[in-house]
Symmetry: C2
Subunit: 441 residues, 2 copies
Amino acid sequence: MMHPSSEHSSAEPLRAKDTQQSGTPPPLTTAEIIAAGAELLTPFRADTNSLYLTSELNELGIEVVRKTIIGDEKERLALAIARGLQENRLVLVTGGLGPTEDDVTRPAAARALGVPLVRDPEQENIVRAWFDGRQTPMPERNLRQAEMLAGATALPNALGTAPGQYWEREGRVLVLLPGPPRELQPMWREQARPRLRERARAAGWLHRTLRLGELGESRVDEAAAPIYTQYPAITTTILTAQPGEIELHLRAPNVAGRAEQVAELADRLASALAGHLVSAHGESLERVVISALAARGQTLAVAESCTGGMAGERLTRVPGASQVFNGGIIAYTNSVKQEMLGVEKTILEREGAVSEACVRAMARGARRLHQPDWGLAITGIAGPAGGSPEKPVGTVWLGCAGPDDVLEVRARRFHGERERVRQAAVFSALWLLWQTLNGTM
Amino acid sequence: MMHPSSEHSSAEPLRAKDTQQSGTPPPLTTAEIIAAGAELLTPFRADTNSLYLTSELNELGIEVVRKTIIGDEKERLALAIARGLQENRLVLVTGGLGPTEDDVTRPAAARALGVPLVRDPEQENIVRAWFDGRQTPMPERNLRQAEMLAGATALPNALGTAPGQYWEREGRVLVLLPGPPRELQPMWREQARPRLRERARAAGWLHRTLRLGELGESRVDEAAAPIYTQYPAITTTILTAQPGEIELHLRAPNVAGRAEQVAELADRLASALAGHLVSAHGESLERVVISALAARGQTLAVAESCTGGMAGERLTRVPGASQVFNGGIIAYTNSVKQEMLGVEKTILEREGAVSEACVRAMARGARRLHQPDWGLAITGIAGPAGGSPEKPVGTVWLGCAGPDDVLEVRARRFHGERERVRQAAVFSALWLLWQTLNGTM
């Protein structure tokens, strides 16, 4: 759910005039992103470049008001570019700059703008040099990549042969960028962003993220709405980041005094939701757990059954985790639970592997890995098979063993598919450790 | 990269006529998907409903030709719906059916179609009953969810209060669906799909996926292009599914004789790329490895360093993995490598943890987990820190120990960020095991 501020929505009329009153065009405040490529209209691939570009544009104080995804069809793409520039003063097109017939962005843009494509000798040399450097014969079709929109500036491509293009007239800007993220991102940073920064509002946007654990979106909103509605200039968005974890995003244009308001709102929300706060500045749960252990000079190991290594994988996403994380035992079968973790056979026979007694033994057993201060254990039924009336699919036991004979356990029942149950189990295990560390059980 | 077939692109003119020649409208062949919701225009959330719907529409023989993402702006959304229905005969809108002021899909659709919204007593009863059943007072605004486009059919929502809507006139169809996937998907399956099936071509699309390992997109295309270009009626798409893994998707409308052509093309591609074939019917590498081990009655354990549990996590995504997968040791520190896997201290001191000698010892050590037939080991430098001139970031050793003293090892150098290196390392380890099992090293 999203609660927009009153200031920056639809600030630009749907059909802004092409001509400006004075010589200096107004700053760019809204943009449209168009992604070109037939593979983006298959079930297999989502457009992710637009998430990167949205974050970057927001930093410049530019709001994205529409995203359009088009295949390799010149007519439809030309229409989308023309409409985009009619309704917003900035349009970015990603993809379709390759050398083949399917790469239609250049001719589509030319048609939309009503300008010719001109072969640029300098770009032609760059394309030829790229193939010479690799001692590969250049297919003639690659010279298409040297065709520029009349009046456009070439944006050099450090990692490929297709230059981007920056075209501006009467306060309207069209930017063509390559589709592969590893080509797009450096070109954006080094070539496009500096040009757009001059044309945008100086200040950019403020952004603050709070993360919360084990609370649903609607419960977060119940607690947060009475507070954030007092700050109408700040847009508050509540999102489920992963099963068990909620993100609260606060965003606002960076005008005078606004930074203090965002900080105040964040502080008030953090206080109101303190019992569920993972972090007040956006850090992930695995990162705050590792930082907390590092600050205490303590270490951790895991014992995982149904999650099969996912808790270890999550913790080791954090660079430098080895300072804190000894490792783990993936005890997927009962034999390994017995042999490597010391779970007694009678527990497995009488209570089963998904039981309080088993998770206690597993949490203690994790402390066999070079004697860490903390042992964290997960055992459950991820599904789709293996459930029973007493222990349905989604039943998970979590355990945390620590210094001074601390041993905290809890059961959870998660709903949804196998992967969702596993992700929720890992989150809840890290959350149990986090609460135990903080004494907030 | 994508190589479209010649048959089904732009089959429908950009501006089809509203009126039809005969009483029976032509079958639906193209569609536009519009996603409504301000959170989809933030950097934090991609539209994924459209991937699901695209797969489903393709099954009905309907191609998606444009996707548009709009915020909570009634004007812009109405414009998008009107244009969508002008240019395609089927438009699906997801999201914006909630009870708040931000949920603008109903009024936007009414404006686009030029029809009024009418409060439906039956839907009103359903909304009231939903709150009564939960003994919760109903906010008056929730009755907005009972407002129907004049002439539309309500699509009941089994998991929420917002019904979907199905509206049809003169061969044009507009479908409104809720945004949450767990509400959208059952409504699609049970309510919308049966209606659209009657309006689509009977046959649907054929789809076949091949998966390939350790080969780049351009190398796959070099080998595949001379073959698939002989089948112009089949669309071939080459995608990187994850670091190290390529997917080849073959798709075609299911007309007479086409199924045999798709099977023939798939067979020829599988033969040409046999040395790199993961599966000829789309199964993941972890699934084919587990199936192969299960067929032999063999078992597996892993020893992971830099991947921290990711190989175990990947293997245990497959339901029923416990038949084959004993578990693993996450040996993140040298102490755990020594104590749990039996890696000699002198190896760690002289050659380091990222070395051939260490990965050999780790692969053998993995066989301590209840004596599996196979032990698979990964040790490397995922970065960003920890590299050296001799062992730069991205250096990974992989090892596979098995029956009859089999012990295969190899080194790889991966490029990119920490997560990419880790994913590629897991893929290569499973690939090493797969090749060893098949004797195709």
